[in-house]
Symmetry: C3
Subunit: 461 residues, 3 copies
């Protein structure tokens, strides 16, 4: 609302408080739901349909006219029709001249057609201003009013004014319009509702792969080895003991993988002496899914905490402790307190607690509503400083847990080291390289490069 | 801001950067707070008051005039006066002709008057454009600047343009306006600030009722029965043991009740052969509070986890374990490891951990800021697929916990079965019916019906 | 978008769907990133630069012209240049007459210059309409498209219309503009990106101080005292036992400090008989950081829970329990169940669990996306009613934990009472004063004062 219009109102009160008219082509499920919602929000709705017979399913306050008649009544026409029927619009081209056509269609597959539905519509009716919108909203959500999932409406189109008109309608319906630029973005917008967590694919596949590997690794060491050599049935380790080995290992490796691409990027930038050359594709993709990697790592860490805390309730653990106590009692022995053991046990638990606590803090700050309320300096402080502190604490937790066990030959069953030793490789590499990069002789040029300085500037500005 | 105005500016720079004037009738607490905030946001504010004497409480930069004079200065007049005094506006009708009147009033009770305050105002001053807004914001929040609670301003009114003007003011004050349609919505908007978690009422009452029932059920079985038959005082079970029976039972039953209405709706739709007939009212209401039911269930599940994890710290449990160990030691017995018990104990714990983990994931995705960032496909994947997986895991957790105990007669004290058996009824029914509905012979027609197909179409389109 | 324009469109379809032109002065890192994003969002971008040679770093679709030429092409000019070079704009004053100048600059220190950069710009070019915006967005975020941190763009300026134009651009770029009023707010907006959790400073410093104090207090009582008198090495208590004393103490004290200022404010208001006099500055500041105090308290409470739950896994605890069991077994003793102890142990655990559960609930409702979805009545119910209930439960938890230990002289080592006794002082004071304030003789006048009533009204209205 600009100042002009409000001034006009004050001087010559505008008495035409008629509602804006919107036309909807198509009386299918989605068209009706959208029409219903628009009437509720104060719009006047005209349906354009092949047959103008009013069905009882069409909202009561709406008109139903032929396509040509309906189109003439409104500046905005919503095309709630499937792409394969779009060619019926060709004869109407003259009437649609200069109108805003809103393409709300979705496809069944990602990239089903060479061009997006909205671009196809724009080709069919070149005189109209095509805007893509509302395809991310479901008919069911509009009908039931429970917009639990996304209220976001992605909008794109080549005409600014037309886009604004559509975004105003979206706002009036209680939705959140997001301008995605020109009609070129339509393909992406049409693919959006067909996606199923695309950013999560790589982290989840990676963790499934690692889980499978470490599961069989631990199965061999902890179940098959004692069965073969000692004929002991520890198959029940599959339920808790082995998952409780896998979870911390995956949490630690994935957390290190969150910080590895940043370290690689720094090395590449230092080597190239500029930030203006693109990273290799795999590194770009890796950097974009760091948040998801971190959250999957947090999930494994949380499971590790739960698995660890139930230890004293486990029937096997109770049996083991009780047998040991009985054995000592029967041998009339009293064990003195081993202060070193107490120190090791307490400090690895304490490191784990603090690491997990910081990890959860990182997770909370990555909630959209929290990260929207911090500025860049704060966001980087949390994600970088606190993140590295978490990685250090968790690595230390694993190192202290191991103690000097890695020296004892009994830890190597069938020459396989303890699984936790494998888990330490990636985090230790990341921490060592990061430690090297912190030295001023490397940190200073890196900061300069990131502020836009170039070692060998190739382009005059 | 439309294109025209920006073009105009580029060609003939508009030099009148005077601030917009807003008039406020009433110099009470809320009127002053709103005026203060508006001045801060760059508006020029004119108060309309019975006495035009400036009080030191009125913001310094505001003018105070008579009602008639103040009204003439602005296109928008905010009526910060209580409903019972609205009739003083009748003599001003001519001046208010065409003005935007903003009704900010609240009542003391839900549905206090037959018509909403805003509709009453519109009747009193028929020539004005009445908009309902700002009633959800508190004077204290405006004054202190700590808008911790809702920044949402619900706006409704019959005139689109007037509504837009008010929504622009709300945005300028740092609030989030939400268009709720025509003035008919005013009643609902006026009731909103008087509500106290209306969607939570049913889930909380239901869980209180069930809690009371299961509390007395367990009290009889676990405290009164041993007291009567064995003369043992287990009254301290009231603090932890009994709550730790009630919590998992309620979590499981409430979680099953989240999925029951969906199953019922599917049966009704299959029977009717159409999705275009409304569900019975109770089912509609039930479906709308599923999220709340689920969150209450999650609360009980979390309490169950905490209660379970403190078990080994309990003085009673330590005493019991220690007495058993001493008894074994004194009898010179060594108990061998019971692998079946180890399997049962570990697998019911593992199922519980995984179930709780998924349950927390479901809870996180129901946070508004998270669910706003997923598309419909993803939301349904999480809430339906992961939800059923959670229900299956939690039901299995309870079944394995029970083991074959339900066969032993000692589980039936006074013919009362163990409480966990009662908890299994609803989830098992839901899972069995859902399992039947997944078969293609039922799933295929259901999918068609949900896409708009009708078995006996009664209306021509 | 107002009605007029859409009507105009319907009647005389506007065929000029040319994109809006925006000019950017400066081809540095931020200017280029902003230009790139604007082109993506459908704007036509003209760069104004000293040398008009196109560098390959500048987005392809942008024009590069001299400053004067570029300025004439657009109504909006973004000044992406450092403050110290602003004076090059003085000769351009005539061309910039009536244009919207957007100041996007940031400083290196808080309050680096006496006046904000935007105000300095407005002084240099008095004929232009200066708007402050986009300084909170980072070039990197714009380039990479990962706007994980704040999408918020604070906007301020003296001209409403100019501000609206800039806010529309921000929305088109997928950002969330927030109007912060007149250009006077520019200083604050320029300081914003330099801040590092300013609201958290006091709570964190306070808790660090208290942590240090209680750490040495417990060190003396629990490590040094037994070392001096019993020559026992309990140094490993530093890892878990002492932190697990400090955490609950700090959680309780900080939680009480959340409610203390409210109680003090009530006393001051009752004493003064009015709510219209400002509180002392320290009280105002204290009240504004209550949310942060509460969240720090919750962090300590969470750590306490984790530290407590690992108790049974600790090597020291296992040794202590096992030694005790062996000692009893060797002495051929069987200990009967002490029901009082069972009651005390279970009820203090249960109180702690319930208190922590409510505390977490409070924490969840303080998430921005959750608190935005509740009305004022609900927010106050949760934060006040549930908050006090949490405080009562946590205080009771500590009291029951202590039991009647405070009577035993052995609790006073070197005349130092147990640390938990010190922790009880503040919460008990808060609860007692609050209890007194609830009595009608004090509650009634307080409610009246808060609704605007004054005991000695000094100003006529």
């Amino acid at each position: 609302m600009n100042k002009n219009s409000s001034n006009t109102m004050a001087l010559a009160p505008n008495t035409s408080n008629k509602r804006q008219t919107v036309c909807i082509f198509g009386t299918g499920d989605f068209g009706r739901a959208l029409g219903h919602k628009m009437i509720q929000s104060g719009y006047h709705v005209v349906f354009g349909s092949r047959s103008t017979q009013t069905s009882s399913l069409i909202p009561k306050d709406a008109e139903v006219l032929s396509h040509a008649e309906a189109a003439q009544k409104a500046a905005i026409i919503i095309i709630a029709i499937q792409r394969q029927h779009y060619n019926f619009l060709t004869p109407l081209a003259e009437i649609l001249q200069g109108k805003v056509l809103v393409d709300v269609s979705n496809n069944l597959k990602i990239n089903q057609y060479p061009e997006s539905n909205a671009e196809y519509l724009a080709q069919l009716v070149p005189g109209a201003k095509v805007v893509k919108a509302f395809n991310t909203v479901s008919a069911w959500a509009l009908q039931s009013g429970t917009l639990d999932a996304s209220r976001q409406v992605f909008v794109c189109g080549d005409d600014m004014e037309a886009k604004q008109m559509v975004m105003d309608i979206a706002r009036a319906l209680g939705l959140t319009p997001l301008d995605r630029g020109s009609l070129l973005a339509a393909q992406e917008i049409e693919n959006y509702p067909l996606q199923l967590f695309p950013m999560w694919k790589f982290p989840i596949l990676l963790s499934l792969g690692l889980t499978a590997f470490f599961f069989f690794y631990c199965l061999i060491r902890d179940v098959i080895y004692p069965y073969v050599y000692e004929n002991k049935d520890f198959s029940f380790f599959i339920a808790i003991s082995i998952p409780n080995r896998i979870c911390p290992i995956l949490a630690l490796i994935l957390l290190a993988l969150v910080y590895l691409p940043g370290v690689l990027a720094a090395i590449i930038q230092l080597y190239r002496g500029t930030k203006y050359r693109r990273f290799p594709d795999w590194l770009d993709k890796w950097m974009l899914c760091r948040k998801q990697l971190g959250l999957v790592a947090l999930a494994f860490a949380s499971l590790h905490v739960l698995y660890t805390l139930v230890i004293p309730i486990r029937s096997f653990v109770r049996w083991r402790i009780s047998s040991r106590t009985i054995a000592l009692a029967l041998n009339n022995e009293t064990e003195p307190l081993n202060t070193t053991n107490a120190w090791l046990s307490d400090s690895y638990l304490a490191l784990g607690i603090l690491g997990f606590f910081l990890f959860v803090l990182l997770g909370i700050t990555s909630l959209p509503s929290v990260s929207n309320n911090v500025n860049w300096r704060e966001f980087r402080f949390v994600q970088s400083k606190l993140g590295y502190l978490t990685l250090i604490l968790c690595t230390a937790h694993t190192l202290v847990y191991g103690g000097n066990r890695f020296l004892s030959p009994s830890s190597y069953r069938w020459y396989l080291p303890n699984a936790y030793m494998l888990a330490l490789i990636v985090p230790c590499i990341v921490l060592v390289v990061k430690f090297v990069l912190v030295f001023p002789c490397l940190d200073k040029p890196l900061t300069q490069i990131r502020q836009g300085w170039e070692r060998n500037p190739q382009y005059s500005e």
